[in-house]
């Protein structure tokens, strides 16, 4: 039931990345987060649960409300690990695209 979650799987999902970006701007409750998405509320809850389990998000109790906020330390670990590699390919592919824009398709 309680599957082990890993961060790379967590950030592979576009909705979860969007949630991380949203919460990065300020801490917010599940309700406020869900209001930013067209996705059904239970789906957003599931995403929040995954992000929390892999420690990208932290929960903080404030009165009756639970606020989600970014776990900066964990986010940095992920970024440090993969970002230079991603950047290398992004640079290459940007070049490829720029170069090929000068060619006409052979049809």
């Amino acid at each position: 039931m309680n599957l082990r979650r890993d961060v790379f799987q967590a950030i592979a999902d576009p909705t979860r990345r969007a949630i991380l970006m949203l919460v990065a701007s300020q801490s917010m409750t599940a309700g406020v987060i869900a209001a930013n998405f067209d996705t059904a509320r239970p789906t957003v809850s599931k995403h929040l649960q995954i992000l929390t389990e892999c420690e990208l998000l932290k929960q903080e109790q404030a009165g009756r409300e639970i606020y989600y906020h970014i776990n900066a330390k964990k986010m940095k670990e992920v970024a440090d690990f993969i970002e230079p590699f991603r950047q290398m390919w992004d640079d290459r592919f940007n070049k490829l695209e720029a170069i090929m824009k000068n060619y006409k398709p052979e049809k």
Partner: protein
């Protein structure tokens, strides 16, 4: 803003997947992979050999920022289907890193758009993680300022 190139490297797995969507028809994306002069420009390497066929092989050479060391990347091609896929091995010669297996898939998205999926399988989880953390000799150095030159020349 959504980043165009995505790298999905799940924890504890000896593989990773790189995906990128291009604002180019798939024919042009593929052409960039099989034409030696073009590969040289975007990979920042010399192409010593590139046989675009099943059982063919390739060899690229790159040098350090001051031309002070040469570095050869090579492999054999296991499968080759024009505008669709290339399956090949990749090896950095004279390094302690074991060869890796690469599955490249080229797809048409919409008219004028395409996607490349590069699935790389490493010998071990540890090797994948080590390669991810390498300060990459193969590209970054030469990348930026040369781009504009190349594009200008083509016009």
């Amino acid at each position: 803003m959504e980043r165009k190139t995505k790298v999905n490297a799940e924890d504890g797995k000896q593989e990773l997947v790189i995906t990128r969507e291009f604002d180019l028809p798939v024919e042009l994306l593929f052409k960039a992979y099989v034409t030696p002069e073009i590969v040289e420009q975007w990979m920042g390497t010399k192409v010593l050999k590139l046989e675009n066929k099943k059982h063919g092989s390739y060899q690229f050479e790159t040098s350090g920022p001051k031309g002070n060391f040469a570095f050869v990347m090579s492999g054999v091609i296991h499968d080759f289907v024009t505008n669709q896929k290339i399956t090949r091995t990749f090896e950095m010669e004279n390094t302690p890193f074991a060869p890796q297996l690469e599955f490249l898939e080229f797809e048409t998205l919409t008219e004028g758009g395409s996607r490349l999926t590069m699935h790389i399988v490493y010998k071990s989880v540890a090797l994948r993680d080590q390669i991810l953390q390498l300060p990459f000799v193969q590209g970054i150095n030469m990348a930026h300022n040369r781009l504009q030159d190349i594009v200008n020349k083509l016009k």
